[in-house]
Amino acid sequence: MSEQLPEGVQRREFDGTERLATRGEPVYGEPTDGEWRAWNPHRSKLGAMLELGMDTALSGGETVLYLGAASGTTVSHVADFAGPTYAVEFAPRPVRDLLSAAESRERLFPLLKDARKPATYAHVVESDVDVLVQDVATRGQARVALENRQFLADDGRLLLAVKARSEDVTREPETVFEDVREELSEGYEVLEARRLEEYHADHLGIVARPR
């Protein structure tokens, strides 16, 4: 398997199992090995996308805007291998934990903001970020990605996790995904899309670039 892991992400053994890992302070009780800490793909859609070999084009050190940071499980791993990382989350409770994760990560910037209102953080988040990661699990996921396209560099990448049930619990995930892709095409070209079923039921992982 020709695997392209970003610099700063490695496969390492934890208790006899190969797992993805980054270097940094532990955040959610994950196993550690020296400076390395395991990245649990069951708790992270981006982790699952990497684990499943999707071509994220991540190489390490890039500037990242992360939407839907929650308590920082995934974004802490991102900040471990990426450069400046802006983390947007709109629910106060998880942000308490996000703040702890950001304490030891000097280039992780926590923001209590609504991803549907980019103007409320456009005075903080810089333009031309290399990567836009989105995992907001709320209705209108394609819309959120489109509205935040303005932050992304022309040759940047959108790494999107779509949760079918957040759009409509009554419809077939496949039809929900089709609609999301259709709407997304207003501003993005989808390079790769894959169900994350092994790790996350009814989720679609998408790699796209702005068009």
Binding site: P84, R93, A119, A122, D128
Partner: protein
């Protein structure tokens, strides 16, 4: 003065002096821009910082401070969630009890051995009563009662989970449901924090208090805090003192929760000690000898 187009193009740091963290906090929280720009480069060009690295250092400090403050501010608003939850919980249990009574009365006409109360309704709803209580209308009513009782249980769990986050000290001193009731009776955590402890002592005893004010009754010694273990567990003659001590400490706890949010375990220790002293008194002593000493 900056006009509107200029503001729309300004970064969070544009109007700031380098060292002013408080202003930076406001700018992060309140500011807006029409579109992102290359803020790190602009910050260096404009002389806000000497280097990109220094810019990111300052951004980290500013976003941490701003976000921490904002989280605290927003979590305070959660006290209103508790107010609604506890009121809904009470409505659900009251309605479940009323309907259970109606149900028992009805079931009694069909089955002389019919039970009473919510538990009986649950048994009926599960279809576990042996007797031929097959009347679908009765069974259906029992299901509603069980459903309402379940809802009340879930709301109680919600309250028990959320209250410690909103009011950690108050929840430690009273149990979470009582803490939430006090917040609800006062109308919010801030309102509770602003009440004198004498008022906290009789919250929930409004009817008795009005009767007293109209001259019909003795002054009530305790309201809802009567349900606090320290009051209930004290001999009736000393309950007034216990209620006053509990109300005093709960008021302090509410103020700490509202104004700082920091957990102060010593409050609980102090209350325990005070209550032990009160309970050790022989009951024929003058119950009011401690005056208003607890009304801080």
């Amino acid at each position: 003065m900056t006009d509107e187009t200029e503001t729309a193009k300004a970064g969070w740091f544009s109007d700031l002096d380098s060292g002013d963290l408080e202003a930076a906090e406001d700018a992060i929280t309140e500011g807006e821009a029409k579109a992102p720009r290359e803020w790190p480069a602009i910050a260096v060009e404009s002389g806000y910082t000497d280097s990109r690295d220094e810019y990111y250092d300052r951004l980290h400090e500013a976003t941490m401070t701003a976000t921490r403050a904002e989280v605290r501010e927003r979590e305070r608003a959660d006290d209103q969630q508790l107010v609604h939850a506890i009121r809904a919980m009470d409505d659900c249990s009251r309605t479940a009890n009323e309907l259970a009574e109606r149900l028992a009365e009805w079931a009694g006409t069909v089955d002389p051995d019919a039970g009473t109360g919510v538990e009986y309704a649950r048994t009926l709803a599960r279809g576990e009563s042996e007797d031929g209580l097959e009347e679908p209308a009765i069974r259906s009513l029992a299901e509603r009662v069980a459903g309402l009782a379940d809802e009340a249980d879930e709301l109680r769990e919600f309250v028990e989970r959320q209250t410690p986050a909103v009011a950690p000290n108050l929840s430690a001193l009273a149990e979470p449901v009582l803490a939430a009731r006090l917040i609800s009776l006062a109308g919010g955590l801030e309102e509770l924090a602003k009440k004198p402890s004498g008022t906290v002592q009789v919250l929930g005893a409004e009817d008795a208090l009005f009767a007293h004010l109209r001259g019909h009754a003795p002054s009530p010694k305790h309201g809802i805090i009567y349900t606090h273990d320290a009051v209930r567990g004290t001999h009736p003659e000393n309950r007034g003192s216990a209620a006053r001590a509990v109300a005093g400490k709960l008021s302090i706890a509410a103020r700490v929760d509202h104004y700082s949010g920091e957990l102060k375990p010593e409050l609980e220790a102090e209350l325990t000690e005070r209550i032990e002293t009160i309970q050790a008194r022989t009951t024929d002593e003058d119950v009011d000898s401690d005056g208003g000493a607890d009304d801080e």
